[in-house]
Amino acid sequence: MTLFIEQCLNGLQFGLLLFLLAAGLTLVFGIMDLVNLAHGSLYMIGAYFAATFAAWTGSFVLGALLALVATLIVGMAVEVIVMRRLYGRDHLDHVLGTFGLILFFDEAVRLIWGPEGLSLPLPSWLNTAITILPGFDYSAYKFSIIVVSLVVAGFLYVLVMRTRVGMLIRAGASNREMVGALGVNIKLLYTLVFGLGAALAGLAGLMQAPILTVQIGMGENILILAFVITVIGGIGSIRGALVAALLVGFIDTLGRSYLPDFLRMMFSKEVAATAAPALSSMLIYLLMAIVLVVKPEGLFSAAGK
């Protein structure tokens, strides 16, 4: 039972982390109509910055904050230099242009930090287990990821639903031309939204960094997951991204831990051992395929296109 609770918490933690990544992606998707494959690179850069700044300052928290700011700046610079020129173009151009950016960022990271990965050690106060329920301990760091993600999700909700900037973001998602025609500085809004998305991706990257190693290409795998989430949730919908991210987080985590046992009940040991890893990696893609076949616009389609 404790194992099950632990796996559920792991699923929640992974899902929330994916949400941070997918939220930025879906905002950029929904508002600028931009397919940004390089979103995973910002995730990677966030992790690299955090590892470097934490080593410089000697403080995990300070390093993380600096990394967040740095990723925000990189994101806004990328928007001004490159992305701005891609708006209004074909989706294929987006795919290709941002694919070029991935190559650039991967290689730039290799050039600056070298081909070996970095590690971001946890401070001792996070590297312990805390007792959540009587008789149930959980990693303090993973628990703090859950807390931070929930706080950020709440902040995002307030920002998008309760502030003037959020109102403009929502308006931009449903009708860009009209917002521009009403005299809103669309360029600045776009730069801000892209920077916000980059910072969220960077936050996800730096929080994941102590759990996994910081390495080149770390963004590519998780990027596909973030895309799956935005598509399941409906492009442009933050609420959809949250629901889909949690769904994917739970299904992936629980699938990996329970599918082997489940298959062993029905098939021979050999079949289960062969099929389980492949099947658990496939589960979320299967989910996406089913969602798209049943609801081709995703679960919560934001724009009424």
Partner: protein, 315 residues
């Protein structure tokens, strides 16, 4: 009004003449690597030609085309591993498996459009990737070494590098001919009509879904053949050959060469792979040049190489 001597035709003719004579040069210069490199380029050009059928002419932005490379390759690899070395079995199986996969995912994916289509094809390709990476019997993540290339009757021997090169080249020319016939047929015109305006095509009575699906299956089958060739070329198959970045590479070839031109993807494949080879000779960090270069092509050279060649003619 320059007839057959347009810049595009001249460049294409020069390219194919060079490809025809390449083994001769490689023989005299004793440069075996060049032959290997260009065999690979020709095979990937064939994959790009197949992708162009759906991407350039059909307007279907598939982001999972590398899956067929893997399926075609693994059909050869698995049959060889199980003691069926005959190419007369391996290649038809590779084609049939790719066609079947294309039929299933095409039938589902073509219900969606736009970004959703990009993503769903990507998702299906990733599913195929994970299935194959999970086949522990056939090496899983590490891949599968092919001990013996596909066996055909007496004079044909795929282990002969020059012979294999010419076989690939002949198949590429065949693929180009097929693509050319296809896009200029009534079927091809219907597909291109559906790309420009799907609703109108349906309104005048074309069942565009079925047309597109057939096109999708033809493209997948052709790419499966390229996969079977690639497996024979490298004597090795691994899930990496169908990873999503591979699909990205194929898209780059098509767009770089020029979408919607039959010969364009061949230009693109040659340009991209020769560029990669040259840049990696200059610096270890060649992708830092290639990445921005791609971006520049997207931003400023729409229509790719083929488009540039077309422009020369107009002034």
């Amino acid at each position: 009004m320059s007839g057959a001597f347009t810049p595009r035709n001249i460049v294409a003719a020069l390219l194919f003449a060079a490809l025809l004579l390449l083994p001769l040069y490689a023989h005299f210069a004793n440069d075996r690597f060049l032959l290997t490199l260009f065999t690979r380029i020709i095979i990937l050009a064939m994959a790009a030609v197949s992708l162009n059928l759906i991407l350039g002419f059909g307007g279907m932005m598939s982001f999972g085309h590398a899956a067929y490379l893997g399926i075609g390759g693994y059909a050869v690899g698995i049959l060889a591993f199980e003691g069926v070395p005959s190419g007369f079995v391996q290649w038809p199986v590779a084609l049939a498996a790719s066609a079947l996969f294309a039929l299933v995912i095409g039938a589902l994916s073509l219900r969606t459009r736009g970004v959703y289509f990009i993503m769903i094809t990507l998702a299906f390709a990733q599913m195929a990737y994970y299935i194959i990476a999970g086949l522990a019997r056939y090496g899983g993540d590490d891949g599968l070494t092919i001990q013996k290339r596909s066996q055909f009757f007496a004079p044909i021997n795929l282990t002969d590098k020059v012979q294999f090169y010419y076989l690939c080249l002949a198949l590429l020319l065949g693929a180009l001919y097929l693509a050319w016939r296809l896009v200029n047929s009534r079927f091809g015109l219907a597909i291109q009509g559906a790309r420009s305006n799907d609703t109108r095509m349906r309104a005048i009575g074309f069942p565009t879904y079925r047309y597109k699906l057939v096109c999708f299956v033809i493209a997948g089958t052709l790419c499966g053949l390229a996969g079977a060739l690639l497996a024979n070329h490298t004597d090795f198959v691994s899930p990496a050959m169908m990873y999503w970045t591979r699909s990205g590479d194929l898209i780059i070839m098509v767009v770089l060469g020029g979408m919607g031109s039959v010969i364009g993807p061949v230009f693109g494949a040659v340009a991209l792979l020769v560029l990669e080879e040259t840049l990696s000779g200059i610096t270890e960090y060649w992708q830092i040049i290639l990445g921005p270069l791609l971006l520049l092509v997207v931003l400023f050279a729409r229509g790719g190489i083929d488009g540039l060649l077309g422009k020369v003619r107009h002034g």
